[in-house]
């Protein structure tokens, strides 16, 4: 036999017991050739183009799932930031595009379609402003459309006008979807240093330097890493790092195989593997549990940030070795609502928003799926975002905020979405005002780090 007994059993154990799966296969489709002066022609072109490339995406992915015995949790499509193709349009037209995206996504059976986006780190065009204003309506009227707005970058600094605008948009989105626990906010990400080939929603979009069509894959598998660490016992840090690397290497290789095969089946070029370790709400499939297995009592204990930094670094090193096309976010994710261990830590009061913020400095991607009281002011949200983007801007890394000011809820309550979005306890927010700071307006200039030439 060309494989050892143990090797085969290890793979079976990963896929059957330890929740190893491919988080997403995301087909990125450029819609730049769909722009037209006439909105109905634009939507028709968008509809036809997505159908043409991704019509069989779900069917093909399912076939690959069966062949390799590895499940693919989500099948998604990302598109060119809609603000780019519709720059001449107003809010009403943008809403029509959102409806079209939702319709075609439902027809082809994908889980999400992402790219209702704008990149405004240095300022707005008229179309971008219109798109952003249409976001609350778009997200409340559609099911599968995801939106993201990039408001800061290391090269451009932080566009505080955009941060303030987005904090209001988030509040408005929460209000418009309040009967469903403000679910609209779970589909809206605000970014610093957004990446163009990210396969993960809600922040995915098909960047302007991307080809016509491409297929990106996002892996998962915290459960596998968790079991490996638990079985290893009290080994020292070098050995621990080595162990994580070995495990992640295998996961990444499998991810690349699945991505390439799905791409082949769809007859589109393969893009990248995003080697992020993405948790799911399932018990045992948690980043928090890995940190606990590494030795901290709970997430939030002193040492948590160091443990996460080491985990994240080992994941990257292994991924780089395993795949020749690593991209996207590529780091451990710490979304609160999607990780049973993180939820537990918040419930017990072990994990605060501030500690979470510190953790985002060493991993991707930011304050993700964090629910806060519905009466949190727009200025406070803007302050939270500004802090998060400052980390991203200064450290030349991607940071994001996907925060849910859940209307009518306060600390002690929950938002519950089910599925991969999970459920989140409302976290307390400091009641000190940031108003006079954030409302200064203008831009925080690009840091010295931007001058690398």
């Amino acid at each position: 036999m060309p494989y050892e007994f143990d090797e085969i059993l290890e793979t079976i154990k990963m896929t059957e017991i330890e929740h190893f799966d491919i988080r997403t296969v995301t087909m990125g489709i450029s819609l730049r050739d769909c722009a037209d002066r006439n909105i109905s022609i634009t939507t028709q072109k968008i509809y036809e183009k997505i159908l043409r490339y991704a019509g069989n995406h779900v069917k093909n992915a399912q076939e690959i799932e069966r062949r390799y015995g590895i499940s693919i949790a989500n099948k998604r499509v990302s598109v060119t930031p809609i603000s780019i193709i519709g720059d001449a349009f107003g809010q009403e037209e943008f809403l029509k595009i959102a409806e079209t995206l939702d319709k075609v996504a439902t027809e082809i059976g994908i889980d999400y379609i992402a790219g209702y986006s704008a990149l405004v780190q240095k300022g707005f065009t008229k179309g971008e402003l219109e798109l952003i204003k249409s976001i609350p309506k778009a997200l409340s009227q559609t099911q599968k459309v995801c939106s993201s707005v990039n408001v800061a970058s290391t090269k451009a600094g932080i566009n505080m006008d955009a941060v303030n605008l987005m904090s209001n948009i988030i509040k408005e989105t929460a209000e418009k979807t309040k009967e469903r626990d403000s679910v609209g906010c779970a589909k809206l990400v605000v970014f610093c240093n957004a990446v163009e080939d990210n396969p993960f929603v809600a922040g995915a979009f098909h960047g302007i330097s991307e080809p016509e069509v491409t297929l990106n894959v996002g892996i998962s598998g915290p459960g596998v890493v968790l079991d490996a660490i638990k079985n290893a016992g009290g080994i020292d840090f070098q050995k621990l790092s080595e162990l994580i690397k070995k495990t992640m290497f295998k996961i990444t290789r499998a991810g690349e195989l699945i991505g390439r095969k799905v791409a082949e089946k769809n007859n589109v070029p393969f893009g990248i593997v995003d080697i992020s370790l993405a948790p799911t709400p399932a018990e045992g499939d948690s980043i928090a549990d890995i940190l606990i297995a590494m030795g901290v009592e709970d997430v939030g204990a002193p040492g948590t940030t160091a443990a996460l930094a080491m985990l994240n670094d080992a994941v990257k090193k292994a991924g780089l070795m395993a795949s020749s096309s690593v991209g996207g976010m590529s780091g451990a994710f710490i979304p609160v609502s999607e990780d049973a261990g993180m939820i537990r830590a918040v419930e017990k009061g072990h994990l605060s928003l501030e500690k979470l913020e510190a953790m985002t400095a060493v991993c991707s991607v930011g304050l993700d799926m964090v629910a806060v009281p519905g009466n949190t002011s727009a200025e406070t949200l803007a302050g939270i975002m500004a802090d998060e983007f400052a980390i991203g801007m200064i450290n030349d890394k991607t940071t994001a905020v996907r925060i849910i000011p859940a209307v009518g809820k306060s600390v002690g309550d929950y938002v519950d979405y089910g599925g991969l979005l999970g459920r989140a306890p409302i976290m307390p927010v400091r009641e000190l005002s940031s108003k006079a700071f954030v409302l200064r307006g203008g831009k925080i200039p690009a840091p010295i780090r931007s001058l690398t030439n």
Binding site: E10, N266, N267
Partner: protein, 140 residues
């Protein structure tokens, strides 16, 4: 293989130029369909070359007739057993088979269905996975 409009157009133009003055709508349609079929066969065949080998893993409480039930089903499906390795650990039965399904009229999906019914009957677990996944994970 997925056909784009461009590809169909290209095939149609080819067909028209090949048929020359004999190009009637019906003749063109027939020729294009033939071309599509032949171009379809090619990538499928290519894929099958690398996708011939499948690893079958079975485990569960040991009972009589596991190996015979599985191998009988495989032989009925004209699958070639290339290698087999079996262990009993305490009362636990574990078997790994490498099989070649190139000459089988059934594909991996059909075989998974067949094995599912056997697994239910014998109360064991049977997994069928393409060999590539093991090669990618365990070999550099």
């Amino acid at each position: 293989m997925k056909l784009t409009e461009d590809k169909i157009r290209e095939l149609s133009i080819q067909a028209i130029s090949e048929l020359g003055s004999n190009a009637s709508p019906d003749a063109v349609k027939k020729l294009v369909e033939e071309k599509i079929r032949s171009s379809n066969d090619f990538p499928e065949g290519e894929m099958n070359l690398s996708s011939g080998r499948v690893i079958l893993t079975s485990f569960g409480l040991n009972t009589t007739g596991i190996v015979s039930s599985i191998s009988a089903a495989l032989s009925e499906a004209q699958c070639d057993i290339l290698d087999i390795s079996q262990k009993i650990m305490q009362e636990f039965f574990t078997m790994i088979m490498m099989i070649d399904i190139t000459n089988s009229p059934k594909d991996i999906k059909d075989l998974q269905e067949i094995m599912k019914s056997i697994a239910e009957r014998l109360k064991v677990k049977i997994y069928l996975q393409h060999e590539d996944v093991f090669r990618f994970m365990h070999r550099i």
